[in-house]
Subunit: 343 residues, 4 copies
């Protein structure tokens, strides 16, 4: 099948190219980039040299629809919703990696993203692309909104607890590699500033908060608040989400183990390490895996769950490919077999 990538010059775009180069069913037949239209992919990304002389095009809807049947849209939020409707009208399937179709409520979108939503009628229809929880929606969808990197990490840790009725309020303390800031230059992502330093950012106001809260509220069946603090860590890739959940007396370590192991027994990409065995981001680098570990502090009434993913793979492009596989009825792991690159 021919697939297109709209906005292919950023890191999620280059990751899609990397991952799809090994996909048995899909072939990239169209790729666009605004600033770099006309440039060779290999000039921008020498690691993609082996893919040959691919060149970024300028996006034109008609051309796009002629050249591919399914599109990954890797544009910044706000730009994505200007492109997606025309692709859907052309009967293409769309997997959007931006934030534009993740929230169901257009008012929530407006309040967190500072602009009115351009196609609010599509919000309800869009499937939330977290296959471990919404595979059925994804299978049937014309439009899939790939979750944010932080929500992916947090929801894989907290989702099973929400479903099991064990989740009240919770705290998500997340640590991300700097590639999460994308390829756009900024002082935050300037080497000499970010190297050898850890810092919180966006405290109390990060846009992934409403996304986590919405999905957890849905899974749990009642409104759920999340205190979310993201941190920048001096590494390129990886997110570790350390989640704190107040639990009632009587919950046992064995029960927690059961919940996670049963929940993910048939999920090919989630590995439940177990009580007292904690994940590290390096073990999932470059892969679509999520590692989960936990500890029940019975004395203090808190369950600590940590999850590790690669923010650009399971947190973005890999998950997008996983969604495509499900939409197309292919093997869920097609093109995503790579193990973590350790050390």
């Amino acid at each position: 099948m021919k697939v297109g990538i709209i906005g292919a010059s950023g890191y999620t775009g280059s990751e899609l190219l990397r991952l799809l180069s090994g996909h048995p069913e899909a072939e990239v037949s169209y790729l666009t980039a605004h600033t770099y239209a006309g440039s060779r992919v290999a000039d921008l990304y020498p690691h993609l040299s082996p893919l040959g002389d691919m060149v970024f095009s300028a996006f034109r809807p008609e051309e796009a629809l002629q050249r591919a049947d399914l599109f990954f849209v890797a544009l910044p939020h706000g730009e994505s919703m200007q492109v997606v409707p025309s692709l859907l009208e052309g009967e293409a399937r769309v997997i959007d990696l931006s934030a534009d179709y993740r929230l169901k409520d257009p008012r929530l979108y407006a309040s967190w993203y500072g602009k009115e939503h351009g196609s609010p009628h599509l919000l309800e229809e869009a499937a939330y692309g977290l296959p471990e929880f919404f595979a059925a929606d994804i299978t049937a969808a014309r439009l899939v909104a790939v979750p944010g990197c932080y929500p992916t990490a947090a929801l894989l840790a907290l989702g099973p607890l929400a479903e099991a009725g064990l989740l009240g309020g919770c705290i998500v303390d997340a640590k991300s590699g700097v590639s999460g800031a994308g390829r756009t230059l900024s002082l935050n992502a300037h080497f000499a500033q970010a190297d050898e330093s850890v810092k919180p950012y966006g405290v109390g106001g990060h846009r992934h908060t409403p996304e986590m809260e919405s999905v957890l509220s849905l899974l749990r069946g009642s409104e759920t608040r999340v205190v979310f603090t993201p941190h920048l860590v001096p590494m390129s890739r990886g997110i570790l989400a350390t989640c704190y959940v107040e639990v009632d007396e009587g919950l046992s370590p064995r029960r927690v183990d059961e919940i996670f192991r049963e929940r993910y027994a048939s999920s090919p990409f989630v590995i439940a390490l177990g009580e007292g065995r904690f994940p590290e981001t390096k073990n999932v680098a470059g892969s679509n895996f999520c590692h989960l570990g936990w500890h029940l502090d019975e004395e203090r009434g808190v369950l600590v769950v940590a999850s590790a993913i690669d923010n650009l793979v399971k947190g973005a492009s890999g998950q997008a490919v996983q969604c495509m596989n499900i939409m197309q009825g292919w093997e869920e792991t097609a093109g995503l077999e790579a193990l973590g690159l350790f050390p």
Copy 2:
């Protein structure tokens, strides 16, 4: 004044040498190292070459007492308590950087450190060397127990809240550079394993937990529990402690600001950045400063306070020198004026 360093070959020892080289009142006249007795300091630590031909001695109590009047003991816990009593008997003052005299209760020590305390009679007497809270004790003390690196970071963030009656249970999610593991080789501190990775460790069982709980309980006046999760982050130096405190409705950002600014108005090393301004470890690297920032999430009822220190300076050797300055009645900042090494 002549000072000695017992156990000078580790990182806290080398930091003491670095810091004391610029001290106007104290001079290192004696330094010991078990394994490296007879070796030149400059061979082990070429950055200390400008200090000239210092050589590590083997520790001998009588010689020690002849050659110095105040001692920094930078031995591993368990070894420190074998040395400290003899130094005190010799009428020296002692600043111990190990964990041996931090806890008041010998049973707590035994349960967390796995051995009986060798000199329990000294526990009550030992001052807890966190000058921002215990300066009076330190001034009068023969024996000061320098706090652990994590407790230093956490207590500077949480202490003012405990004193102000605003602290209930709390969560401390801390991120540390790898030098915290010391100079002893381990897989955790092996470059290829630690680089480009974040991971929690010691979850639910880190020995700094009872230390934090004891001091917070004391400051608050009632028993306080801390859920503490340390993480290893791929950098050499620095600790960031992100602390989560449930607060009552009605607390205002202005009140929080007041608490921190007033509390630290006369503390030369604590810089209260303010609401919404968060610290980063790089800004305090190599310095004895602590940077503090906070955000009150009124909607979710949680106050987030983050503090950043250099684990080897304010978290160990710098704080030890600060304690010495207070004990001796010198300028509190003597030898500690260096600013953070940024970028």
Copy 3:
């Protein structure tokens, strides 16, 4: 085909497991580790968890020969030569990743490795496993000696010049990630020592010097000396070899371009970037590719050639798999299609 890995608990062993997990023809049926015999692979290497419940065995020659037909030997030098002869006698094919069979002259081995060679009769027979130069030897070989990581990087840069008669004496200034030091703990590879630092090591005495000199002498047809200085760089993976070659007046940039492009026109893993376009290690991380760039400084009479590889892949385990593919007549790139993991 069933393959075995002898000495699978080090980084080259774990890389073999990672790479072979995606190989279409070979299956790992036997893996040994001395210290970790009986341990689960996933406990040592959580990134390999998806491979299931593999367990390290203790090496026993008869069992090995029953369970596999081709062996990768990933033991330290000196140990390898104790194992290889018995495997060859059992009619297995052997790909040795140690230094034991790289040098043809047993006296050279003795002088650089400090011990007599245990099976000098095999030295002449062993093929040098650099497929870009010795594919014919590899095809026919029972025993292949996979080149060292530094020689791989240097020879891919200098080999074409040696063949073209353009090489006199040369200087190889190489920069390596710390994983090159292996999984064995050492102060050199201790995070806090290696992080944020660059240093030369083994200057004038690194064992890869005679390997480079031997192969370049062979390719050039006369004795060739190499001044080789390796450096440790604070990253996990990657080698950059910057090579300096004195050249005669009259050599043109165009001729240099021709030499490299023609030489590697049919090499699937060597990418000649061209004059003035220089490689960076990150573009080949996790992949079997080598990127090459050069600049002819006509005024100063020096040709600078730089090559970048992943020390654990093209510099070790990936090259070993490439050799296996050639030995078995499979597609040279089988199992090695992964692109560099950038960023």
Copy 4:
């Protein structure tokens, strides 16, 4: 004495503020920044918070001359020469950290920097601010041109050999931390691009080449060519210059030792480690020291000398302060006593 910093918002400016904060004689009374005029220093650089409420001014020559007697000019090349003449006319002494007054020949400047020099009459007068070689010039100078970071590292390694008549052509392979690229955003200095990667850049065309060649030619007394290849290394600070010099038969290791030890016997900041003992950048981080080590490969006729400095201290702001000390007749080490920050 009151000193001013023109262009204080970059990294060399912030380093000057850091270093001068501990200087016993000089006080910063004036500091300017174009883009940040009106901003608080502590907002841009929180590590400088302890310096209090300093604010960047816009540069005005008259005001500058009223408020200070000596100026550090930390502007980009090309801008510096627009400011320096007016300061000199106002009878101030000037220490320029840009490249504008480093080359004596205005044609060389024009060809390498792509513009005509604006005040060529000052080139001859300007002292080259490498105190280890030009202290007399510096003492007497109105205008000092602080050397580039790479030339500082290379000249401290090669200068003694040039003076001793042992230098022919030479190769300088240098590795720099990313702070060398300054605070200005660029893809080269973007964390996710630079992290975990080494790469050469500016090969054959770096502007520090003519600077090295000019000074070495001067020291040696005849024209000298340098092949210079700078590399970016994933660390914030530090330069390691590995220098290769062809030497005649008959030179002995002892003679090399003598040359370096004698040459630097009275240089407080250069530490000659000796034959076979090589420097690492971390040992000089944050300090004004230079560590030197060497190895004479008698068999191959090459002397390898490596030097390590902190690019922002000895390679820029520290050296500027050292020059000021010499110009003013103060202790050469005033304000520069800090040891390297290791680990």
